[in-house]
């Protein structure tokens, strides 16, 4: 078994708030292999974005981080800013939700692409420009040469997201983190972006972490899935298994809340209550107040992710009385 490209172990991030430090991410561990797409799923407050930001060392000031993040053997936590800058963009890159803020509104996209490239790859201006045109073609922007001179405002939302992906790819990173890459897009546009990400992953052997609350998107793109709740890992494993027969009540709840394939069937079954905000995480298992299967011990004992099958981790104590869903 080859060493995973990214190994996150017991990542814990505490953020300062008015009432003291609270864990936004609590003991998260997962791994990503080269050429693989791993999904980080969860609602807001699950800590998924903070986990992503910690990969880049882009946490808010005052954040306390413990644990380990190893990228290709190199420990990322504790690196100085100069070393982090060398890694950001070159080894790992990010695509975020809002393409409007990811791209500089005034600079032409050619500049935004080449600047990145020249800084990390040290290529000449002409070489960078031709590579930039190639990137735009890869992400299927029509008339790439002309597009280099245009500004982001001249493109539609979907196109801007493609350009943002091109910018992320400019320095040929090994790992791409896509944080809610299609949430703000129309469904047909989303389909295009998902196909693009899939193709890039296969063609370049790039690893991708997709972060989203949309299980449909996960199902389409990720081969493995980590479901997060209140900063902790609830369940992780192959996507097909997690979505086909989820074991954690939260994963089960998320799937039940989705509309059924048959129209007009039973009403949507939402999970009662709402996800806890920072600092209000219940003791024991964080999900227990909303869990149908909660037992008294769930309020006190904190479940750790345990392997229950090959590659399948579950942070929920086994219950002989509860039928396996």
């Amino acid at each position: 078994m080859t060493e995973p490209l990214l190994q996150v172990s017991q990542l814990t991030v505490a953020l300062p708030t008015r009432s003291g430090y609270h864990h936004a991410v609590d003991g998260l561990s997962f791994a990503v292999n080269a050429g693989e797409v791993v999904g980080l799923a969860g609602e807001s407050g699950s800590g998924k974005t903070i986990a992503a930001l910690s990969l880049f060392g882009l946490l808010p000031r005052g954040a306390r981080v413990t644990g380990s993040i190893r990228l290709d053997g190199t420990e990322l936590l504790g690196l100085g800013s100069k070393q982090l800058r060398a890694i950001r963009g070159r080894q790992i890159a990010m695509v975020s939700q809002d393409p409007a803020t990811a791209l500089h509104p005034i600079l032409p996209i050619g500049t935004q692409l080449t600047e990145h490239m020249r800084h990390h790859l040290g290529v000449s201006k002409a070489e960078a420009r031709s590579r930039a045109a190639g990137l735009l073609e890869t992400v299927r922007i029509p008339a790439p040469e002309a597009a280099l001179r245009c500004h982001p405002g001249q493109f539609s939302g979907g196109m801007r997201q493609r350009i943002a992906i091109a910018v992320a790819l400019a320095a040929e990173p090994r790992l791409l983190v896509a944080d809610e890459p299609t949430t703000a897009l129309d469904v047909t546009v989303q389909a295009g972006i998902l196909r693009l990400l899939d193709r890039l992953c296969r063609e370049r052997g790039m690893a991708v972490i997709v972060i989203t609350h949309d299980l449909g998107v996960m199902s389409a793109t990720a081969s493995r899935l980590c479901v997060m709740y209140a900063g902790r890992l609830a369940e992780a494993g192959p996507t097909a298994r997690l979505l086909g027969s989820p074991r954690h009540p939260y994963t089960r709840g998320l799937l039940d809340a989705l509309p059924h394939p048959e129209p007009g069937s039973a009403p949507l079954v939402p999970i009662g209550g709402s996800p806890p905000s920072l600092g209000r995480v219940p003791g024991g298992c964080p999900f227990h107040p909303r869990c149908r299967h909660a037992r008294p011990s769930c309020a006190t004992d904190r479940p750790e992710p345990e392997p229950i099958a090959d590659g399948h981790l579950l942070a929920c104590p086994p219950d002989p009385l509860r039928a396996v869903p």
Partner: protein, 279 residues
């Protein structure tokens, strides 16, 4: 819901200091006749005596007790500045509200009027108005009001404009609210805050303008004990530093205090500090 948290004012020492200072001056202004050791207009003491036990702030060139005059000065400056700002605020709010609400030519005319006032540096325009009306404290007050109302008008106009298209205003209109009612019930609560902040910060300005006019002889007339006028006297007697410095310090403390209060108010109103629950 939220847990109770320490109320914001206690976390802002500067604002507390400001409130204390203004409170102190208010007390002084009310009780000056009881506190002041001497009659502020009595010219019976030694001329230009340095501060001593008998005269804490010394005496001025006409032999009056500076300390008593400073205390009595609070009775003029403080209430006048507040009244002045309230007047400017009300006038400006009405004008700005009409401009923002009705738009069209009313908006154009009123805002050009405001622009006209803005075109002149405050003290110059105030000077001109005060001079035209005649050197009297009342006219100085009018002059400062004339100079101050446009800021409120502009602020209120922009608040009304942005609130008009706010969804909660649209919702109220769908329920049958008339435009005027929306102005009063929905827009006013949102406008009140920023306007009050502006007013708090502006009182300091008003004090300075009023004092400035008096300094230039256009406001309070002798022998009235007004801080600005006293500073003017002090400028004529530079070597006798106490004549001008104490009234000057009085102005300084009042202006600073109002600025601190205004700053704190503005921070309190900043939506980023509001403890909102977001999904």
């Amino acid at each position: 819901m939220r847990r109770p948290v320490t109320p914001v004012p206690w976390r802002r020492p500067l604002a507390l200091a400001g409130l204390a200072v203004i409170g102190g001056w208010a007390v002084i202004a009310i009780f000056a006749p009881l506190i002041a050791p001497q009659n502020p207009l009595a010219q019976k003491f030694q001329i230009l005596a340095a501060p001593s036990a008998a005269h804490w702030f010394g005496t001025d060139e006409l032999g009056r007790d500076v300390f008593s005059r400073v205390l009595y000065g609070a009775r003029i400056t403080l209430p006048l500045a507040v009244i002045l700002i309230v007047a400017a605020m009300l006038i400006g709010a009405v004008i700005g509200g009409i401009a923002g609400f009705f738009g069209g030519w009313a908006d154009n005319v009123l805002m050009r009027l405001a622009d006209l006032v803005f075109a002149f540096p405050g003290i110059i325009l105030a000077l001109a108005v005060a001079a035209a009306l005649g050197p009297q404290l009342r006219n100085a007050v009018i002059a400062v009001v004339v100079v101050s109302w446009p800021s409120y008008a502009r602020l209120v106009r922009s608040l009304v404009l942005s609130a008009r298209s706010a969804q909660y205003v649209v919702a109220a209109r769908l329920l049958g609210a008339s435009g005027l009612r929306v102005l009063v019930t929905d827009i006013r609560p949102n406008a009140a805050g920023p306007v009050l902040v502006l007013a708090a910060l502006d009182v300091g300005n008003a004090v300075l303008l009023l004092s400035g006019l008096s300094f230039l002889g256009l406001g309070a007339q002798p022998p009235t004990a007004e801080w600005g006028a006293m500073v003017a006297e002090g400028a004529q007697n530079f070597s006798d530093w106490w004549v001008g410095m104490f009234p000057g310090l009085a102005i300084l403390t009042v202006v600073l205090a109002f600025n601190f209060i205004g700053d704190a108010l503005r921070d309190m109103l900043d939506p980023r500090t509001a403890r909102a629950v977001r999904p």
